[in-house]
Symmetry: C2
Subunit: 497 residues, 2 copies
């Protein structure tokens, strides 16, 4: 291995095959792994583990930053490797196993997992596998395209496996800012005051003696799978732009707005792209994942800095960004997800948080995770970390799904991830409802008028009026509150009784 | 007025009758007021406003710290004074008006209201009325038995009315620590590292020219109405004590535990008293309200310091504490509720948060506010501020209510204030379920076994088993999920179909 990738010479002897490294992982172990939304996950060792599991039983608890690329969650599920999984996933095969009760999935706020592990509330990893672009002279680990929970998982593990991935340029070194909060009691403030502050080190510190194996890998990150904006995502982006224009006009926000967090996915990407044709300038992102739209805004001179925990780019955008990383490096930082999503910092910085809802109800409660109230989609991710402490907590969704069989606005959500206390603004392609300072009955009136699709509006008005006649702070006809979900399950359409 | 109560001589001329001061409040105004859980609310001026409202219409938006004593919410409701009310209340008459849709009630996290007002998302008060024990040489305001939102409401108001209450000893001066976060962007960390740190001033700063009236008042705070522990609250306290003993034995907590937040009410008071007969020492409270039990623990040498936003004591305990305030003063501090409940500090300090649930479900979602899913009880208060960011978020309730017609553990809560992501431990007199690191199906098994009353356990097992047969991360029979609430409403018992 060239000495610029493993600069502490004594570690050269730790180079092993993926199979040898995977043999360190025993049945029943807790395993930490790098990886956050298809970026920077370890690849060769989990694939070797999958191969081994075809021959002998290996069941592990897997703790990552967030979701993984390269179909790893799919392959590990099929091989029966995953007994327990946290804190997030986004894979169709794993999802099916979770909903069948075959894999225990612990769906957590992304800022919580490492805090719980630090104070002994979660089992620490026996082995942690992290992807790196290099190991420094001191034996420290330079992460690749995500930081996620890697720094903590390395700190807490008994043994560490490093995958040196040659598909990432060594120029990524210097992009990361690793800061790990101290144990409690006695912890001080996190000294980050501006989104572009650097408060840590550009590498993950580790006792080199803990590095049990180094594996060379040349499998690239999976590219993102974002769809281009359509009419509806464009309408959502436009409603939000109008909202921010009004906030600036009212003197509540400056023309640079406030640090933006935007969730992952097609709608979120369209919303971010929407800022391209806006009068806002000097925008800043303080987010958890950067998508293509971040670099569109940066290239257009709209966005001056972006902080996140990972970068998940399309093939085209990835080539452009990673091929010219020196051009972007002083405008970017990747942090541990505990820091990108930390309540202390989200509140201090006054973040505007924009996340996607699966459905919301007429009172502004949001379901981000459970289809039909029971079946897991992906997980809450960082949406709660941001919405709870944001200056403005915004949720977006298209008003209809499944060709109109589903209204994304319902009388009562089938599962609550964000309560009305944490939700300030909801948006569909129909319009935007600004819920700040409103009582539940006022929220309902606004949401029905602004966000519900016309094909569901009469039914919703009928429900709300009959509920109000019964009374209550949050009027409901309790025996009908989930009837739209029941109709859908039984008759394939929310209004078919 | 004696010059030790109004020490800036030029303000003596501002002394007015309560009626004169109340005349500053016009129909349609937004009014800020001191007061947090029956402690330190302005009294004479709102009573004068009630009298005036009997002759002419006065409808206001009233923003306080939390609930009020002296039946003020009742009297203002009856007189039609309250058009809008936030962020908390605990009055039976007001509750009825809220549930009838006559008063718009905005139920907020107690740490959020002033942050929203600061950035212009809530209307600022035309007038703020605060109770004080004195006005300093500089014209600054020394609060009484609560701080609540008073400092901010004074800062944001066009005009300020001060009620000097002679029933409070001037010895309260020095008890308070007023720190107000700066506007964003550019805000720095809140420099509080230990629960007993003092980071502000012992008074509320104000431009004396903004003080429009000073009213002399001799109406005392209402005493608290806590009931003594019964067998069930004692059992809850015992389960918690056993839990903490195990945490200490496992090395997850020291023998002084971690700073404790305990909610208001009879169960919470019993839980705190439960520490009296425990081996834990050098306990510290970082809470929002102090009740009698705090002083029991302090007198017994168990508790070395208590930080909160208000003190709500029984007549007997109040006499003992306020009669000997110098004895307690170096062990006590009262802060703005924005600081007592601040996410930055709750996470940094590693608070153990113990709050009362109205009901919780088999997956650990908690309803703190809505009876039958629709009717407001009091409000979320600070329970969400604490549970979300606590080191351990604990909810307690008796397993039965209304002579067994209600199970406080249900298949699905009728309203969600705290999602399973934020709830670590649930306790009834039946037992304690430690949910940390568990997937929903595992949580359900434990909650049913440990917390559900035996008279509901078979029905709950039946529901859960049938739900699991349908599948899902959070298995539910969606058409039955709220049927216990429907049964109660229709037939007076949760299991009567």
């Amino acid at each position: 291995m060239s000495s610029d990738r493993i600069r502490l010479a004594s570690l050269q002897s730790k180079i092993k095959s993926a199979e040898e490294a995977a043999s360190l992982i025993k049945d029943g172990m807790t395993v930490g792994m790098s990886g956050f939304t298809r970026a920077g996950e370890a690849k060769a060792v989990p694939l070797a583990l999958v191969e081994r599991a075809k021959k002998e039983p290996v069941h592990i608890t897997l703790i990552t930053g967030a979701s993984l690329g390269n179909d790893l969650d799919k392959l590990m599920t099929e091989a029966g490797v995953l007994a327990r999984r946290m804190p997030f996933q986004a894979d169709a095969t794993l999802r099916k196993a979770i909903n069948a009760g075959k894999v225990m999935f612990i769906d957590q706020h992304l800022s919580h997992t490492m805090e719980m592990m630090r104070c002994g509330q979660l089992k620490k990893p026996n082995v942690t596998i992290v992807e790196a672009v290099a190991i420094t002279e001191e034996g420290y680990i330079v992460p690749s395209t995500s930081v996620g929970n890697s720094a903590n998982l390395v700190e807490f593990a008994d043994a560490v496996i490093v995958e040196i991935n040659s598909t990432h340029s060594t120029n990524l070194e210097g992009l990361h800012d690793i800061y790990v909060p101290a144990a409690r009691p006695g912890r001080g403030p996190i000294p980050l005051i501006n989104p572009d502050d650097r408060i840590g080190t550009p590498y993950i510190k580790v006792d080199p003696a803990k590095i049990a194996a180094i594996v060379l890998c040349d499998i690239p990150d999976s590219p993102s799978t974002i769809l281009p904006p359509d009419d509806e995502t464009q309408a959502i982006a436009d409603h939000l732009k109008d909202f921010f224009l009004a906030e600036v006009a009212a003197g509540r926000l400056p023309n640079s707005l406030a640090p933006l967090q935007v969730g992952i996915g097609t709608i979120a990407n369209a919303v971010t792209s929407g800022f391209l044709n806006s009068p806002f300038t000097d925008l800043v992102q303080y987010s958890e994942v950067l998508q293509d739209s971040t670099f569109e805004l940066m290239d257009a001179g709209k966005l001056k800095f972006a902080s996140a925990s990972s970068m998940t780019l399309s093939e085209e955008c990835g080539a452009r960004v990673y091929g010219n990383i020196e051009k972007y490096k002083d405008k970017l930082v990747l942090r541990p997800q505990e820091i990108s999503n930390h309540p202390e910092l989200i509140r201090r910085l006054g973040i505007i948080g924009i996340n996607t809802a699966l459905e919301f109800d007429i009172y502004g409660n949001v379901n981000s995770t459970h289809v039909g109230g029971t079946k897991m989609m992906n997980g809450i991710g960082g949406s709660g970390d941001f919405a709870r402490n944001a200056q403005i907590g915004i949720f977006v969704t298209k008003s209809l799904a499944k060709d109109g069989a589903i209204s994304s606005v319902v009388p009562m959500v089938g599962h609550v991830d964000h309560t009305e206390h944490d939700v300030d603004v909801v948006v569909t392609e129909q319009g935007l409802a600004d819920l700040r300072g409103l009582a539940p009955r006022e929220r309902a009136r606004l949401i029905i008028d602004k966000c519900v699709h016309p094909s569901y509006r009469d039914a919703m008005n009928d429900y709300f009026e009959r509920a109000c006649a019964r009374g209550g702070q949050t009027p409901h006809i309790i025996e009908e509150a989930l009837s739209w979900h029941v109709n859908l399950e039984k008759n394939g359409h929310m209004l078919k009784k």
